[in-house]
């Protein structure tokens, strides 16, 4: 969102280290099994925890009897809703944002009602996992089972079972009199859509749908918490943000933030799903009661039943255009599921719907819908892929109707620098047009297709984010550079930080080490999410590095006995510009060796809150082949083109593009949450929740379009999320061309393809 070039923009200049592809600093530990991930950490004298989860989709908890469980030898603590602060306390603590923390707290452990299959009801800590599980079976919960609702349209109906009698739809012209499962309607509009659609030379309309999908990180949620007698709490866990875990645990338990110290362990994938808390508050309360450290780990079944997913959606789109292909009108209305508690994906769906095009008349309406599923969580570009699927599918249909090439249609309408974004600000240095041109000119786009094959394209964007980050940089006694930051490394960010620091100092990459600190050892940093880390934390690293360079120059001036102004920093050395030492250099190592005699240790910290991030754009080309007998779809070739700003470590930028594309392919073809008639998740495992495997895929070709963000010292835009936006429509368009039938419902499973190819059975 944002930002024409500014006079104070950093100059990128000639880069020596940024843009190279060195081995990541944490790589060795990760290929040898030494890296310590969430489930790998052990504390001395640690107990094993286990959680009792609801077997019902919707029920009132009449009573919970834990006496038999507590009496079992080896059981050290049993906790229920009684052990958590009352809701009023939480409201007082966190002010008007209490809504979300209140929901989160209820999601961590059920209070009056359970809202989904898998909702936590009680927890046990015991001397072994076997004892803990035995104790769970002794807890007696008296449930009053209530009618449940799963599907979006079912939950939307006025006669649906209502989850919360406190939810009244916000955003309507008049406040409704009855509570419902619809917490929010949001609308953004411009011009007059009805007139524009009436005047359009060509229009298309369509109804689209998809089910919730899971982030599918391979590492289970896991943590160890240790409550100490002085009231201090240590938590070891993997998450996308240790500070986020600290803040949410503090709010849910009503304990001071400063008493909690969160140690970030290596994180085994998150994709947005580890930007919240599930286990940490429970482990803390169990530890407080037991007086010993407690470990909690989620099973894969429980991950599917009770964490994630991303919203399912039903969507309607109408587009209108002139005969020459200029878009004149867009009407988009969507309903997103949020699970049992309100989500925020509707906001993001609105802002991600049509902002990649210049359209004078539009109405975009989004509804959030509650139902008896786990509280939804962020998933890579949250809220964007769903609405993009409908809009981009409609664009492909419009191209067909106009007899235009689908990329040319997009080029004609693509948003350009200087034009207004959906948030009202003018766009800065964005490169959608260049991406579309690169896709059009790519050999893939003109490769001939065979029988039963089709090619689809789609484009999309993601706003990216900046926000608060802290980094510190110190010079060791031998001149090594030590960078400390607070953002978990989920896909190579240590390498990016080291590259940016090395570039700023003018030293080799190998001279820099990067450490991710716990929440008591560095200032606040937002989550590793929102495609913000390399941008915002990178800015903090560069600012701290520049401050250290300034100190180094100052120390060199002292050693040479010249004015600071006479010292220049170049290629990792100070150069003397005046006096009898003119032309002499002092290396980092030599300045470091004299640090104690020139003013003491050399270090600096920088805290930043940059909001001059820029969005990222992506264009994907997909070739697919359908098997007419089985309905199976095979992806033959896949190319991603992306506006990446500047690629700091190109391998890891390509990795984001490839990984996001493949998650999108899975979403399009295989993945879905399937519930049975009782509201229980029917496919809570990797066998039945079918994520792409190596044999499903071709190589994923990548084209990086580098148009730097002038507001970042090295041009970073943020690359992690937009790759999952276009695949749904690109894959669906390829299958549609291969079958001759437009695929509007995801996932495009073999039975669906078979059904359209053989309508008579």
């Amino acid at each position: 969102m944002n930002a024409p070039e500014r006079p104070d923009a950093f100059k990128t200049g000639d880069l020596k280290v940024v843009g190279t592809r060195p081995v990541r600093p944490d790589g060795n530990d990760k290929v040898t099994g030494k890296a310590v991930f969430g489930p790998d950490f052990k504390a001395a004298n640690m107990l094993q925890g286990a959680l009792l989860r609801s077997p019902h989709a919707h029920a009132r908890i009449r009573s919970i009897d834990i006496r038999k469980a507590e009496a079992l030898p080896g059981v050290k603590a049993v906790v229920t809703r009684e052990d958590f602060p009352t809701l009023e306390d939480i409201l007082m603590n966190v002010g008007e944002t209490a809504g979300s923390v209140l929901d989160l707290s209820q999601n961590v452990i059920a209070r009056e009602k359970v809202f989904y299959d898998g909702h936590v009801v009680a927890g046990v800590a015991a001397t072994s996992e076997a004892v803990a599980r035995e104790a769970l079976a002794l807890i007696e919960v008296d449930y009053e089972v209530l009618p449940h609702v799963i599907g979006i349209e079912d939950a939307f109906r006025p006669d649906a079972p209502v989850l919360h009698d406190t939810v009244f739809t916000r955003g309507l012209d008049e406040k409704p009199e009855q509570p419902s499962n619809v917490p929010l309607r949001m609308r953004q509009a411009k011009g007059d859509v009805e007139i524009a659609l009436g005047d359009a030379a060509a229009t298309v309309s369509g109804h689209y749908s998809m089910l919730p999908v899971h982030q599918g990180y391979i590492e289970p949620h896991a943590c160890v918490a240790s409550w100490k007698a002085d009231g201090k709490v240590d938590i070891w866990c993997s998450s996308q943000g240790a500070f986020n875990v600290r803040g949410l645990t503090s709010a849910i338990l009503g304990i001071p933030t400063g008493t909690i110290r969160v140690m970030p362990l290596e994180i085994g994938g998150g994709f947005g799903g580890k930007t919240t808390v599930y286990l940490e508050p429970l482990a803390v309360v169990l530890s407080r009661k037991a007086g010993r450290p407690v470990r909690l780990t989620m099973s894969r079944t429980d991950i599917f039943r009770a964490s994630g997913p991303a919203p399912g959606a039903v969507l309607d789109v109408r587009l209108g255009a002139t005969a020459e292909g200029t878009l004149t009108a867009a009407e988009v209305e969507f309903k997103y599921s949020s699970g049992a508690f309100s989500g925020y994906e509707v906001f993001l769906g609105i802002s991600s719907a049509i902002g990649h095009y210049n359209i004078q008349n539009y109405v975009v309406t989004g509804w959030g819908v509650l139902s008896n599923m786990p509280k939804h969580a962020a998933y890579r570009a949250p809220g964007a892929p769903q609405v993009n699927f409908a809009v981009e599918s409609a664009m492909n249909e419009l191209a067909e109707k106009l007899g235009m090439d689908p990329l040319e249609l997009r080029l004609k309408n693509a948003i350009r620098p200087g034009e207004t974004s959906m948030s009202g600000t003018p766009h800065g240095e964005i490169a959608l047009v260049e991406c579309l041109e690169a896709a059009r000119d790519h050999p893939h786009y003109s490769e001939p297709l065979g029988p039963n094959q089709g090619r689809g394209v789609a484009c999309g964007y993601w706003g990216n984010h900046g926000g608060p980050s802290t980094a510190s940089v110190a010079v060791a006694e031998d001149g090594s550079i030590l960078v400390v930051e607070g953002n978990p490394d989920i896909g190579g960010s240590r390498a990016s930080m080291a590259l940016m620091a090395a570039e700023t100092f003018g030293v080799d990459y190998g001279q820099v080490s990067v450490t991710i600190a716990d929440t008591s050892s560095i200032g606040f940093s937002g989550v590793t999410g929102g495609s913000r880390t390399t941008f915002a934390t990178g800015k903090a690293v560069v600012e701290a590095s520049r401050a250290v360079v300034e100190i180094l120059c100052d120390r060199a001036a002292k050693l040479w006995n010249v004015d600071r102004a006479q010292v220049e920093w170049r290629d990792g050395e100070a150069i003397c510009g005046a006096g009898e030492k003119a032309g002499e250099t002092l290396s980092l190592a030599r300045i470091a060796a004299k640090a104690d005699n020139t003013g003491g240790p050399i270090s600096a910290e920088a805290s930043v809150n940059p909001l001059d991030h820029l969005p990222g754009y992506a264009v994907h080309i997909c070739d697919a082949e359908v098997d007419r007998e089985t309905g199976h779809t095979r992806i033959l070739r896949y190319t991603t083109v992306q506006d990446v700003g500047r690629a700091i470590h190109p391998d890891y930028v390509e990795g984001q593009m490839q990984g996001g594309a493949v998650q999108g392919i899975g979403w399009a073809l295989n993945e879905a949450f399937v519930y049975d008639a009782n509201g229980r998740l029917d496919n809570p495992g990797f066998l039945d929740y079918r994520m792409p495997v190596a044999s499903d895929l071709p190589m994923i070709e990548t084209v990086m379009i580098e148009r730097p963000n002038p507001a970042h010292p090295y041009g970073v835009k943020g690359v992690g999320e937009v790759p999952i936006v276009p695949p749904l429509a690109a894959v669906a368009a390829a299958v549609s061309e291969a079958t001759g039938v437009r695929m509007r419902d995801l996932p495009i499973t073999p039975d669906r393809v078979h059904a359209v190819l053989h309508p008579d059975g």
Binding site: A3, R170, M186, F271, R380, T425, G530, R532, L611
Partner: protein
């Protein structure tokens, strides 16, 4: 005077359905306070819910002076996964 553009959902919450207001405010803090006067409670949550842009530039520093500024956009604060 500065033009205040209210992006959804703030058009309903703060503008009663209108997406534009004209306000007198010396800084963004003052502007948020003025909006809070019209819609009590806004200021308390604004730091977590709203992002502000002055003449097209998003800013996190609400002490920024509005003298010479012509437009402030109030939009929902969004982040990603």
């Amino acid at each position: 005077m500065v033009d205040v553009v209210l992006m959804p959902p703030f058009d309903r919450e703060l503008g009663g359905g209108d997406d534009r207001l004209e306000l007198e405010a010396a800084s963004l803090f003052a502007l948020v306070a003025e909006l809070d006067r019209r819609s009590p409670g806004f200021a308390q949550a604004a730091g977590l819910r709203a992002t502000l842009a002055v003449d097209g530039m998003v800013t996190g520093d609400w002490s920024q002076s509005l003298s010479g500024a012509s437009e402030v956009i109030v939009m929902p604060r969004i982040a990603g996964g």
